[in-house]
Amino acid sequence: MKSQAMFFKARAGEKLADARLQVNLRQARDKFVDGRAAAVGRYVTDLGGDFEALRDAGAAIRDRVISDLDVWLDSFETKAVETGAQVYYARDGADIRDMVVAIARRHGVAKVVKSKSMLSEEAALNAALEAAGVQPVETDLGEYIQQIDDNEPPSHILAPAFHKSRDQVADLFARTHGRPRKTDIPDMTREAREVLREHFLSADMGISGGNFIVAETGSVALVTNEGNGRMVTTLPRVHVVITGIEKVVPTLEDLTTLLRLLPRSGTGQDISNYVSLLTGVRREGESDGPDHLYFILVDNGRAGLVGSEFQPMLRCIRCGACMNHCPVYQSVGGHAYGWVYPGPMGAVLTSLYTGIENALDLPHASTLCNQCGVVCPVRIPLPDLLRGLREQQVERHLRPWSERLAMRTWAWVARQPRLYALVSRVANRYLRWLADGDERIRVMGVAPEWTLTRDMPAPQGPTFRELYARRMRKNKEEN
């Protein structure tokens, strides 16, 4: 998918003005934020668990894998091959597209059903399949809605279409399905299910993501709520799993730890409606499962992060908690971020995977409030990573010269106490002059953006430094 991240600011403005989006964002926030808090609460009170210790354990599992990624991938591959699967490694999006198209050709595939795969978004796979004469059908309800809406990109990694209202979806269904317009949600889901069922039965190949792949058994774990994942991975003859190389976990035991964290953090569920653990191709005597199983394990910039200051980002289990809790995401939604992943994790990943120079706004579009860091189930220090990206922008001379000059001048002055005292005194007088006796300044010449949305309270009086010096003098005189 081509990144639009350079247009963050302009898009953010549009999103703030979109009244319908704002209502949906508010509902989603309440649902996800309260949902997580309640789920964590239940884990502690009902199960006697320690969620903070669980987060430590989750982070430790992910760290262990990432520091020996090649080893764990090797053992995963060995196991997967033993169960009849084939394992491919894709360097980038182009590799993914070529591999999937080649697999489709090899097996004479005309139609592909897909369950959610963020990697297929990274690779813009649907367009490539269509170009190769293969029809891709998204079967996750949210992804399906996005697909029939002229392939609009998802706006949330868990709930791709949550920015749309029920009415918008009703119109879309009526137009696409050519059936009478329905507005009752169960009716609409039933209609979607009927349409999708035909696709499930006629597809030759299923493509899924993989929340985790397990080295111990060569399996892929899928965490879903709609059950479409099961159809995609068991009905068609061919199943292709596309996921990131960092998604490997050593054992089933480790998987259970991460599964305790993922739904609680993301959707606020104790467990998702479906957790599927799929191992190998269909064997003699088994009634379900594909005849051919492929794993496409994708690098696309991931391996390069190992050993770097951004390595902790590879722990990410794509739960969505960081965006759900982010005040910026809550205000502008996912599309403003311009690529596959939104919110704090998206700001980091977009910068790292599509190039720091192609996402200059994103690391700055954060108040560094660290609400993301305290909810991240694998303790990724997102604000530190965002700050690290800001540092890289400075080191690579990617910041505007005016900003650099201002920062350098300020920092230099701040190192000269006498000069600084003078400058702060002048600034103080200037602000008081602007306020002109009022308690506030309505328009500022310096940093005028401040007064775009708020007043600036006027300084209370002279600077502390001046007043303190006066007081000290007075004390001396009195003594």
């Binding site: 600011k9 953010a12 403005g13 703030l16 005040p327 910026v328 809550q330 205000s331 700055h364 579009a365 954060s366 108040t367 560094l368 409030c369 660290n370 609400q371 860091g373 305290v374 700050r387 990206l389 800001r390 540092e391 922008q393 400075v394 080191e395 910041r399 900003e403 920062m407 350098r408 300020w410 920092a411 701040a414 190192r415 106490p417 600084y420 702060s424 600034a427 103080n428 602000l431 308690e439 506030r440 940093a447 953006e449 401040w450 007064t451 775009l452 949305t453 708020r454 007043d455 600036m456 309270p457 300084p459 209370q460 009086g461 002279p462 600077t463 502390f464 430094r465 007043l467 303190y468």
Partner: protein, 242 residues
């Protein structure tokens, strides 16, 4: 006990009364307070702008000014957070400096945290009367664990009625340069904060960081609220004639 007061650059420029309030609180708790004369800024703006070099230079400067004090205290969660949680990392490659910095970091406190945790203060001079709601500033809360300290001090004041707001731990939308780089997003975030403040009907919103204060007060006034006062916790605790 010799305590170095880090006034902070914003208090110096905008609201000196907070500095004097902090001074009064520390002195009335029995501290000998020094206000190092050459102090300017802790370097946080540079640090958050990605200018590590400048941040480090300012950290070294501050270290020289406060090293001799038993404690460093600041009426700001974000400046104290900068010193306590981020300074050591700035000197990751310089073992000698890191030792010195760590020694100061571990003695650096946000004001209410210092009063409660280190001094065990149980009486404050302030005589504020009215209802207040407390906004937890991000750095104080999430970097330093400042949560119960200011509330326990406010609870000592018979005239103060604390009314908790919804989402008191949510960011106010300030974020330093964020507030000017993304003024509209910042404005949307603070509008929600303001609504939560107003919903309590409290006479004042009380908080511990000047950045958030300027943002919240500026936004409240822009939205037409002339009633709700915006006060630093030090001002409330120390009383008017600080």
């Amino acid at each position: 006990m010799r305590v170095g007061l880090l006034v902070t650059c914003l208090v110096d420029l905008m609201r000196p009364g907070i500095g004097f309030a902090a001074l009064r609180l520390l002195e009335s708790a029995g501290c000998e307070v020094v206000v190092p004369n050459g102090q300017t800024c802790c370097g946080q703006p540079a640090f958050n702008a990605g200018d590590r070099k400048a941040a480090r230079a300012l950290a070294e400067k501050l270290l020289g000014e406060f090293e001799a004090c038993e404690y460093l205290v600041a009426p700001s969660g974000s400046c104290a957070g900068m010193i306590r949680t981020h300074y050591p990392g700035l000197f990751a490659d310089d073992e000698r400096m890191r030792g010195r910095v760590q020694a100061l970091s571990s003695r650096s406190y946000e004001l209410t945290d210092f009063l409660v945790t280190v001094l065990g203060v149980s009486e404050v001079p302030g005589d504020f009367r009215g209802s207040v709601t407390y906004h937890d500033s991000c750095s104080g809360l999430r970097e330093l664990g400042v949560k119960t300290q200011p509330r326990s001090l406010l609870a000592r004041m018979p005239g103060v009625e604390l009314r908790e707001m919804e989402e008191c731990e949510a960011c106010c939308g300030f974020g330093g340069m964020f507030s000017v780089k993304f003024s509209e997003i910042s404005g949307a975030i603070s509008a929600r904060k303001c609504a939560n403040i107003q919903a309590t009907g409290a006479d004042a919103v009380v908080l511990g960081d000047l950045g958030c204060m300027l943002n919240i007060e500026g936004r409240l006034r822009r939205l037409g609220d002339e009633r709700t006062r915006v006060l630093h916790v030090a001002e409330v605790l120390a009383g008017e004639d600080a």
